[in-house]
Amino acid sequence: MSAPNKSYDPVEVEALKPEQIERMRDEALAAFAAADSLDALHEAKVAHTGPTSPLALANREIGALPPHAKADAGKRVGQARGAVNKGLAARQVELEAERDARVLVEEAVDVTLPYDRVPAGARHPLTTMMERVADVFVSMGYEIAEGPEVEAEWFNFDALNFGPDHPARQMQDTFFVQTASNSGSAAGKGADSDGESGVVLRTHTSPVQARAMLDREPPVYVVCPGRVFRTDELDATHTPVFHQIELLAVDEGLTMADLKGTLDHMVQSLFGADMKTRLRPNYFPFTEPSAEMDMLCYVCKGESVGNPDRSCRTCSSEGWIELGGCGMVNPRVLTACGVDPEKYSGFAFGFGIERMLMFRHNVEDMRDMVEGDVRFTRPFGMEI
């Protein structure tokens, strides 16, 4: 930087003439506008705002001006540089937005691609159906009781008022367990060991009721879900191994009306508020009075009865679906299980889970529930 040249008296400096400043500004703005990429804009930025740009050079000349002209020129250059910087920033924003938009477009994927890297698992619908029914009662305060599947005859039959000659105790219905001495040897098979062990595969979940009464002081409110066994060959409608859920309530003053109300509550919880049940007299050794229980067909609500235009395949246009058996616990059963029938009464019911799954989910063949084919089970997922 040279010292002020006092001898020099320029009247005008070419570069600081107003029209020159305006030209520089306009050229800069034009260059920014012409820049079509961030790189081009950077070049234009260097050319028009850098230390060697015309406006920067012009700015240097201000010092050479006589004092009275400095302010004027300074103001002009400053305004021009301000306009240029503003133009640059605006263009920078514009071009960055364009770039961002372009990148996002380039990064787009086909979101419809399928994805089955680890196929979903599932719980068996019999398991989840059983839990669902049980939970209706658990939420009311009932507890879940469980018991052995290989069970003593006394629990499976005697305690439940099945006399020694009851037809259910015959070989055509019940799996009998060999005596332990026979089990030890390979050649233990033989009809002569029939029933000697006093042990069977439980034919219903009712022995759990007997155990629950022996284990607890009344009042007893339990549900007993579980696996049971009968000597049926597997076919479309039978399976030797199936699932039941039973309910037992023992308390002071329980009545058949309470049984009816509990059944109504269950079908409403499972099938909707407008559901109800129907009782028909029947016979079971462990209940007296006994009843067969039907639920209103949850599909047609009974409207298919006598109405050929609205036939219902869920209930075969009967209007009702047979559910299972129920009744007031036979006082003999209470006695055998240590409950005083003079003080307490009880009700019980039970039904098959397979059957409920069949009509609720339109399962046509029992074998589908037995064979463990993943194509059947997977769609049922985690809960039912």
């Binding site: 290989v150 305690a159 070989m171 129907r278 997922g381």
Partner: protein
């Protein structure tokens, strides 16, 4: 029990417009399980008339003999001319009365009759068989030949009672009385509120000394024996149409007049009867138990070796019948087609012990119409009426004469009474019926009722099922209508919710399903073959089996001791059906003999068993722990547009065990093991701490190649099985929440070289212990082997994260902890820092 509606109406005045469906609904509400209402003769339309065969021309030019007949049908064909008919049956002759269907008629099943050309002639209708008319088998093996007295041209639809409704009732074991028209009519009469015409109300002559001699030597097995004799029967006489039709509709086949009558009376009154040909009975009729080894040929021609408990009917020669079950062949009523037809019969109407009859029927696998009724209990007081009814019908229909002798051997018994509070039914039902209603209903079913607040109820002789107060309550409630019971909801006390064991069971199922496993519920039956295929040693405890007396399959006669056979079967089944990438799980009981099993005692039922007695029963049962198992085959991760897939391997199986343990909040210790059915080099033993003691809970890994081959499983199939109950016991209760430090983490990576056979778990345990309290986590992120490392060496690269609760760690602190970790790993496992 099949009940023709027309027959039922004989005893009850049902409203004329009432259909079978209406009656069905009423009886169902009263507790009779009326399964179906069969519509007999549905769609049947005449003309169907009686005809008389005038001529028969045998046509022989066809493959089978054909008859061209002319039949007089009177004016039924509009002309009075003989009707020309083709017939393929041969069981009739000129002059016989037959049933002719004429053109324009419709037979059951929508079979429209018209004149048609057949066998070169025109048949103007058809001569009918019982099958074609929907009557069921009548044993004629041809067309129907009617008794000669029926006029030609008579409408046969009415004559043969072809149009009717039949209620088919599944009678429950307590309702033996409904195995008779009398019993069903009683229920119908109550349901409709109309009187019953009781067919058992007959005049019966008093017993006397001249009857056929009967000696009952077992009055407990037979408390009543009535014998009547009818002589002068015409063996040629056949049962009249009405009798045959009623038997057919009730599902029985007409046989001969005497037998048909005993069957008819049994259906009507519920009392099984037996008719002996008197000429074939020698000496007095006796009732006694069999001697062991005694033999009897029953009516069905089977020679039966008798048991000492079998109750027998005998004569001087020995057994002539299995009491209440089936008669003997040696005293059978002779058919009129035989050389000498029966002309004299002795009628037996007896009452036998239900249990004895049930056992005999079961022992000889011989369930008869008679045994079915005796087992359920019949009305002992109806025996003499039934005998009288049989005598009456034999006189009326077979021209017989009743002998004056009436034998009755009766063991005295008193009527049974039950005492109940008058409001007992109200308390059972939860309904205020009131005493009047209770008494009225009990009287309706035949009880005598006395008393005010306490009722003394004498139950009718036909209801042996009524023994307890609740039996009477049921009668009142069912007649008042189960459908009229109100609906009230009892409120149980607050329950405790699910037990830990139950919650764990559910959580494990959800966790495994969440990890991609599909649940299978397999049958628990196995045989020794699969245990051989699994390669179990001879003394493997899984070979100790709970065996069944009567398995469905001789190949699978025992209960599972492991879940794997069932699951592997499901794996193979799925694979065979084209699903190859498989992850299955099952939770369920296995059955492990304790070796201490004894016969489970049959405890009394008239009191609570003692705790010792219950424990005694329980110790007769095998151990039945709950287990969980998984099996894997094919890809664990599928290949796809994202890249390569990954086959399921041993590590997935072990991870499944960790998933289970995690749900229980239990730490799983993994060690190498050799255990069937797993690959000896790829088998992990799994341990948890139960009460501070390390306990083996199961195994996981890849299956042994020999097992895979023997069971035809996909290659490299993997499996895991653990005892869920043990894992549950290892649980430590409510989780204690971790404290979260917000100071920064210090990360240090270390690469250690160890001998290839050092278990990684040991190295990690040493690092963990050596690093001390500052270690927040440790993670193995790389394992490799290479030439540079040297033969039999492997490199393990760990990321260690350090953090303190109360300060930011310095680099020196973190490094010191790391170095301590490395030092301990070196001492314990020989590990050296890579590059050191």
């Amino acid at each position: 029990m099949r009940v023709p509606l027309s027959w039922l109406r004989e005893y009850v005045d049902l409203p004329a417009t009432e259909t079978g469906r209406d009656v069905q609904a009423k009886l169902i509400a009263a507790g009779l399980e009326v399964e179906t209402v069969e519509q007999l003769g549905e769609g049947l339309k005449g003309p169907l008339v009686v005809g008389k065969v005038l001529t028969i021309e045998e046509l022989t030019e066809f493959k089978k003999p054909i008859r061209f007949c002319t039949v007089d049908v009177g004016q039924a064909n509009g002309t009075g001319e003989p009707q020309e008919l083709i017939c393929g049956a041969r069981n009739f002759a000129v002059g016989d009365k037959v049933v002719v269907v004429l053109p324009g008629a419709v037979l059951p099943g929508g079979f429209e009759i018209s004149a048609r050309k057949t066998y070169g002639r025109t048949s103007h209708g058809m001569i009918c068989s019982s099958d074609e008319l929907g009557m069921g088998d009548d044993g004629s093996k041809g067309i129907i030949v009617l008794p000669p007295q029926h006029e030609v041209g008579t409408d046969a639809i009415e004559l043969l009672e072809l149009v009717d409704e039949v209620l088919d009732i599944a009678v429950t074991p307590d309702r033996g009385y409904c195995l008779s028209l009398r019993g069903v009519a009683r229920e119908a009469a109550i349901a409709y509120g109309v009187p019953l015409r009781d067919p058992a109300l007959l005049d019966v002559p008093a017993p006397n000394e001249f009857g056929y001699p009967v000696e009952v030597s077992d009055p407990l097995g037979c408390d009543r024996f009535t014998a009547r004799t009818v002589t002068g029967l015409d063996p040629e006489t056949r049962s009249p149409i009405w009798l045959r039709r009623r038997l057919q509709k009730a599902g029985m086949r007409p046989v001969s007049l005497a037998v048909d009558i005993t069957n008819y009376v049994m259906l009507e009154l519920g009392q099984p009867l037996h008719a002996y040909d008197r000429s074939r009975v020698q000496g007095a009729i006796g009732v006694r138990r069999a001697e062991p080894g005694e033999k009897l040929t029953t009516l069905d021609g089977v020679v039966r070796t008798l048991d000492a408990e079998d109750l027998l009917i005998t004569d001087d020669r020995g057994p002539i019948g299995l009491a209440g079950v089936m008669g003997g062949a040696n005293t059978e009523i002779a058919d009129h087609e035989d050389e000498a037809g029966t002309t004299e019969v002795v009628i037996e109407a007896a009452h036998f012990d239900p249990v004895s009859i049930a056992r005999t029927a079961r022992r000889h696998k011989l369930a008869s119409e008679a045994s079915k009724r005796f087992e359920r209990g019949i009305d002992p007081l109806a025996a003499s009426a039934a005998a009288q009814r049989t005598v009456d019908l034999l006189m009326l229909l077979a021209g017989g004469t009743a002998e004056a002798g009436v034998t009755e051997v009766i063991a005295p018994s008193a009527p049974r009474t039950i005492t109940i509070p008058a409001d007992h039914p109200d308390k059972v039902a939860g309904v205020a019926y009131g005493r009047e209603t209770v008494v009225r209903r009990l009287q309706q079913i035949g009880c005598d009722v006395y008393g005010q607040d306490r009722l003394t109820v004498t139950v009718p002789s036909w209801r042996p099922d009524l023994t307890d107060p609740n039996d009477l309550a049921e009668e009142v409630i069912r007649l008042e209508g189960y459908e009229n019971l109100p609906s009230t909801l009892p409120k149980p006390p607050a329950g405790l919710g699910l037990t830990d064991r139950q919650r764990l069971h559910r959580r494990v199922g959800r966790a495994l399903a969440g990890a991609g496993y599909v649940e299978a519920l397999n049958y628990p039956f196995i045989g020794t073959e699969v245990l051989d295929q699994l390669g179990l040693d001879a003394d493997d405890p899984r070979r100790a089996l709970v065996k069944l007396v009567n398995p469905l399959s001789d190949e699978e006669p025992a209960m599972r001791t492991t879940l794997l056979p069932g699951l592997l079967g499901a794996l193979r089944r799925n694979d065979g059906r084209g699903s190859h990438d498989l992850a299955l799980f099952e939770t369920g009981l296995v059955f492990r003999p304790t070796g201490e099993e004894h016969t489970a005692e049959r405890l009394p039922v008239d009191r609570r068993p003692t705790d010792e007695e219950v424990a005694g029963i329980n110790s007769a049962l095998p151990r039945q722990p709950r287990r969980v198992a998984i099996v894997l085959a094919g890809a664990r991760e599928q290949a796809g547009w994202w890249g390569k897939g990954r086959p399921a391997d041993w590590a997935d199986a072990v991870e499944a065990a960790r998933t289970v343990a995690r749900e229980a909040g239990v730490e799983l210790t993994v060690r190498a093991d050799q255990h069937a059915p797993w690959h000896p080099g790829r088998c992990a033993a799994l341990y948890v701490a139960v009460n501070g003691e390390e306990t083996l809970v199961g195994h996981a890994g890849e299956l042994h190649p020999r097992v895979i081959k023997a069971l035809h499983l996909p290659e490299r199939s993997c499996a895991m099985e653990v005892e869920l109950d043990l894992i549950e016991q290892a649980g430590t209760g409510a989780l204690q929440a971790p404290r979260i430090s917000t100071f920064p983490v210090a990360t240090q990576d270390v690469a250690l070289v160890v001998s290839r056979d050092v278990p990684t778990a040991d190295v990690e345990a040493a690092l963990r212990e050596g690093a001390g309290e500052l270690l927040e986590s440790i993670r193995l992120f790389d394992v490799y082997e290479s030439k540079q490392l040297g033969e039999g060496r492997k490199s393990l690269a760990y990321a260690l994260r350090f953090r303190a609760d109360d300060r930011t760690l310095t680099v020196e602190e973190a490094s010191a902890a790391r170095d301590a970790a490395i030092t301990l790993a070196g001492e314990r496992t020989g590990a050296v820092l890579r590059g050191a």
